[in-house]
């Protein structure tokens, strides 16, 4: 029941885009997030930090205050184009951090990503980020952050109102590790078949 309550609270917290740029520029702050083994605690922390907000659409402001204007973030992230200078892109604040990568894997399972995208991100209800490296909405760290936090039209929920930014960055880190040597907790292959001795009848 407690878990239900906490998660419901967490689901009600609209999280402005400003939250993620703050986190992007301040990894130290994000590092203070709850450990992944207590996923609900992470959500509870957000809930505690932003009390009193009312349910609403993910992008509806609930009060009269206008969020501060955001500084331009530079060129639209995207692939390197031959002959042009490398674009300035937002980096994942946890890039190269193995324990954050491990946590990203754990959040992937505990926060229900696996239910749609497969236990090891091979797809199912949702698309397959493992072998489908061409992401419809881009695969740079910032684009992955956006896809997770804002949701996408085919049914991907907007996780920005459900998970704190540091969790989303760690999820993005895990997604980018799929199929690489760094990927944590890789899938074991399925057995070829069950042993003939395990079950009856065997017609």
């Amino acid at each position: 029941m407690l878990r239900l309550m906490l998660m419901t609270l967490a689901a009600l917290i609209p999280l402005a885009l400003g939250g993620c740029s703050a986190s992007a520029s301040d990894p130290a702050q994000a590092d203070q997030a709850a450990p992944p083994e207590a996923g609900q605690a992470a959500a509870a922390q957000v809930a505690a930090a932003r009390p009193g907000q009312l349910p609403g659409g993910p992008t509806q402001p609930t009060g009269g205050t206008v969020p501060p204007a955001l500084a331009p973030v530079g060129p639209i992230p995207g692939p390197q184009i031959a002959g042009e200078n490398p674009a300035t892109t937002i980096q994942n604040p946890y890039a190269g951090n193995p324990s954050a990568l491990e946590q990203g894997r754990q959040y992937f399972v505990a926060m229900n990503c696996a239910g749609c995208h497969g236990g090891h991100a091979g797809g199912g209800m949702g698309p397959d980020p493992r072998s489908d490296h061409i992401f419809k909405f881009g695969n740079t760290p910032a684009e992955l952050f956006d896809s997770i936090s804002m949701g996408r039209g085919m049914g991907m929920p907007a996780w920005g109102t459900k998970l704190p930014p540091d969790v989303i960055w760690k999820l993005a880190l895990y997604i980018q590790s799929l199929g690489t040597q760094q990927e944590p907790d890789k899938a074991a292959p399925a057995p070829a078949h069950a042993p003939d001795s395990v079950a009856t009848p065997s017609y």
Partner: protein, 629 residues
């Protein structure tokens, strides 16, 4: 429809030896008959059935409200869910000449479950999401489209459907075609004009709810249920008035007796199912609100007992440790009064389910001799791997025998109604349990079997898969998966993956099996008065087999794997036709979809390992086929 319900028709089940004219080469016992004409040859390249036991002896078998007029106006054909049509113009002597009459692509790369309807001179097909209704003119042999009704459901529903964006079909009543949309709406469409008559919102995708099942109509009420056991929904069945779509009644699968419409008329046969407010007290506090029990399968109706019969789905989460208790009324067969929804009896298949063995499988209603006396039976070839036979008047379990390899339980006690479980194969939080059988997709899944009152046999499209499971704690976040387990499925023991089983109901054993070694089976079955059984395979073969022996008499390779259900009907020209959807997808065959990778055996909720090579054999893309002579 309901007015026709009271009809009864008796069939004499005939042992093959008595069918001299139709007898076919096969087991020695059958070959002894003197043949007036040579037996039709087996289809070239088709598998050969394995004969296991003598077929059932002659018996007086009555079906409830059988199909009478060559139409197909409700999902299973008849109220009893036999999927048997007495039409016999296509039979063993001529089925070898069956050929395609017309085809139509749906243009949708997703699984095409369900079946078309035929009402008068029009065929009605419901597509997978976006759930279009297409009316096809049968007066013209090329089958031109009369009109298309496009309901434009909420696109977010696509991300909430656990097992592909499927739809299992429509029902006809009172001049309307009535069906459910993935985004939790029920619509009634004028069967002549294609204009929407009414549209009722019955649930919310933001809570993870969808609807995929085909409704039925009983006495002016549309009866339907929801989906979403993998997303923490609370299951229900409800009745809408056919006239205007208003709600007549709604019965939840979890919660108080009041919410479950359980009252003074509720008399379960077994003590395990008796008590007050079990939908509340068999859960940890509050967990029943997200506990599943969705009603996403088939509903049967008996106009004589005046009861509907249906099953509820699995409890959520798959990790059983998060929901201590029996978790009623998940995985339960219910008998209810369709007038007011009041429960009459219930039978929970497995308390505190740990394997995702939904009880939504069809319940087939047949009156036949059982151990010497005529009884009103309910036959349930369940996902948990047993064919169960109940007395449908009171819910007494009369028989439960395995039809595929099973190890989660040894047997069912007919005295207590409880399964005798093997504790070694019950998964627990904190460890991986290996080699449990059958897999969560069951000995068979939602894909419906057929019962032939002429042979006394049930034709089951079974699959043989086992699984490993590692439960983990899940967090409830509305509108997202609430599963709590990593699952890996793989082919079961014995070297076969799927089988059409000719099941002898009276003797509770298989007469024959027609096995598939490459892929499981995941579509429905049709039985006809022509002594034929039609079914399709995941690699796209559509077959007609001899109802007595399982011998394949005809087969045709369709464009995509078949997970649809064949139907048969008389066209306006008086000829018999057979129709089926090809179009691979759904849960077990999800690995055929481009969005699922074969490199992750836990993808698609673990189904990938069972069909690892499926992309070699088939690809999605729905096509309606109509066959004739």
């Amino acid at each position: 429809m309901a007015k026709e319900g009271a009809q009864r028709l008796a069939w004499r089940a005939i042992a093959p030896a008595a069918l001299a004219g139709l007898a076919l080469a096969g087991p020695a016992a059958f070959a002894q008959s003197s043949l007036s004409s040579p037996p039709p040859p087996a289809a070239e390249g088709a598998p050969t059935p394995q004969q296991l036991n003598p077929p059932p002896a002659a018996a007086d078998i009555h079906t409830v409200a059988p199909l009478a007029d060559g139409q197909w106006t409700q999902p299973a054909g008849d109220y009893a869910n036999t999927r048997f049509s007495p039409l016999d113009k296509i039979n063993a002597s001529n089925v070898g000449k069956l050929k395609v009459v017309t085809t139509m692509a749906d243009g949708i790369p997703h699984g095409w479950e369900g079946q078309p309807l035929v009402v008068g001179d029009t065929m009605y097909a419901v597509t997978p999401y976006p759930d279009k209704l297409i009316a096809i003119d049968l007066k013209d042999p090329t089958g031109p489209v009369k009109w298309i009704y496009n309901p434009r459901p909420d696109p977010r529903s696509q991300g909430k459907a656990c097992c592909d964006v499927v739809n299992r079909g429509a029902v006809y009543a009172d001049g309307k075609i009535i069906y459910n949309l993935l985004d939790d709406e029920t619509v009634a469409v004028d069967a002549k004009t294609g204009k929407q008559v009414w549209r009722t919102k019955v649930g919310s995708v933001s809570k993870g709810m969808t609807i995929t099942m085909a409704p039925i109509v009983v006495d002016g009420k549309v009866i339907l249920g929801n989906s979403g056991n993998e997303l923490g929904v609370r299951g229900w069945i409800m009745a809408l008035n056919v006239s205007d779509g208003s709600v007549a009644w709604k019965a939840y699968s979890t919660g108080s007796d009041k919410d479950c419409l359980i009252g003074p008329h509720f008399k379960p046969f077994y003590a395990k199912d008796r008590g007050r407010n079990l939908g509340l007290t068999t859960w940890s506090p509050g967990q029943w609100k997200v506990g599943g029990g969705a009603v996403w399968g088939w509903i049967s109706y008996d106009p004589e007992t005046k009861l509907i019969y249906y099953g509820t789905g699995n409890p959520g989460t798959w990790d059983a440790s998060q929901r201590p208790g029996a978790n009623k009324w998940s995985n339960t067969i219910f008998a209810r009064n369709p007038e007011n929804g009041h429960a009459v009896w219930a039978f929970q298949e497995d308390a505190h389910d740990a394997w995702d063995y939904d009880t939504i499988i069809e319940n087939i209603l047949v009156d036949m001799p059982w151990h010497g006396r005529m009884r009103k039976l309910l036959i349930h070839p369940g996902r948990m791997g047993f064919v169960q036979v109940f007395d449908r008047t009171d819910g007494q379990l009369l028989s439960a025998e395995k039809y595929v390899p099973v190890n989660w339980a040894y047997s069912y006690s007919l005295k207590t109604g409880l399964p005798k479980e093997n504790p070694a194969y019950r998964p627990h939080l904190g460890s991986t349990t290996f080699n449990m059988c059958p897999s969560p997709t069951g000995g068979k899944d939602w894909n419906p079997s057929a019962f032939d009152p002429q042979t006394g046999m049930l034709y089951i499209q079974a699959h043989n898969d086992c699984f490993d499971m590692t439960p983990h704690e899940a967090n409830y976040i509305a509108g997202t998966p609430y599963i709590g387990a990593n699952v890996t499925m793989f082919p079961g023991p014995g070297g076969w993956q799927g089988a059409l089983i000719g099941w002898d109901v009276a003797n509770a054993r298989p007469a024959w099996m027609l096995k598939e070694n490459k892929l499981p089976l995941f579509g429905g079955v049709l039985a006809t008065g022509g002594n034929l059984v039609f079914y399709g395979t995941l690699d796209g073969w559509f077959r007609a087999v001899d109802a007595h022996t399982g011998k394949v008499l005809w087969q045709f390779k369709t464009a995509s794997g078949i997970i649809g259900e064949p139907i048969t009907f008389l066209g306006p020209d008086g000829k018999q036709y057979v129709a089926v959807y090809a179009g691979v997808g759904g849960w077990l065959a999800a690995a055929a979809l481009p969005s699922v990778s074969e490199t992750d055996p836990t993808a698609a909720l673990g189904a990938v390992g069972a069909v690892e090579n499926i992309k070699k054999y088939t690809a999605p893309g729905g096509v309606l086929y109509v066959f004739g002579l």
